[in-house]
Amino acid sequence: MSNGAISNSIRTLRFMNNEMTQKQLAEKIGVTRQTVMAIEANKYSPSLEVAFKIAHVFNLPLEDVFQYQQHE
């Protein structure tokens, strides 16, 4: 899998939502804080279920949270 193909705005969205911590987000979506850290750093592409859960936490559609850029 190529790195950097999927980016996200989770860090910005957390701060816009009462400065939600990584731990709080992790508890809401049922993963560990390390997984949230890895997703934010674009080192790990979450499963579809986790991606939808994150979007649901922020009350946003999926494409506002995750962006996919296709490499040429």
């Binding site: 993963v31 560990t32 390390q34 997984t35 850290m37 750093a41 790990y44 979450p46 279920e49």
Partner: protein, 166 residues
């Protein structure tokens, strides 16, 4: 960032799973060291004795169980029910990567042991040259212990760097 701040940041970033894996790694490394040290410093009479070898393998099994039980009891006291939480998707992937390296080492160990056994039966090879009886067994036990160490090391490395795609 100063060295102290770096250490603090590292301790805050370490997860309970990483702590568990670190303890498992240390326990496996110690058991491996214990086994190899006993084998390397054994007399030729001890190496040739199946009773001595059985006792050593029994010691390895008992020490492994005892260290794992003690470490999990200690971890259970310091955790907030974190031991009971299931692995998330990413951790399961990292777990699988760890088992992949375990499988490689076990396969290599078993193949080397089979070749060694065949060579021994034909009257040549290191076990004849250096007079090491039960060498195929030692190779398989060493491969097993090395595989455990590789499994925990790979999981810690992959979990820390996040580089889980291969």
């Amino acid at each position: 960032m100063t060295r102290l701040a770096e250490v603090k940041a590292f301790l805050q970033s370490i997860s309970f799973r990483e702590l568990t894996l670190s303890i498992d790694l240390l326990a496996s490394a110690y058991i491996g060291y214990f086994y190899l040290q006993r084998v390397f410093y054994a007399t030729p009479e001890q190496l040739a004795s199946s009773t001595w070898l059985s006792a050593l393998l029994l010691q390895v099994i008992i020490y492994s169980i005892a260290i794992m039980v003690i470490s999990y009891i200690v971890l259970a006291f310091v955790s907030d029910n974190e031991l009971e939480q299931p692995l998330d998707v990413r951790e399961k992937q990292i777990n699988l990567v760890g088992y992949k390296y375990t499988a490689y080492i076990l396969q290599a160990g078993i193949c080397i042991a089979i070749f060694q056994y065949q060579a021994e039966a034909q009257g040549f090879g290191p076990s004849i040259e250096y007079n090491i009886p039960f060498l195929p067994l030692h190779i398989m036990v060493s491969a097993f212990l090395l595989a455990e160490v590789a499994n925990y090391s790979a999981q810690l490395y992959k979990g820390r760097t996040g580089d889980i795609y291969e």
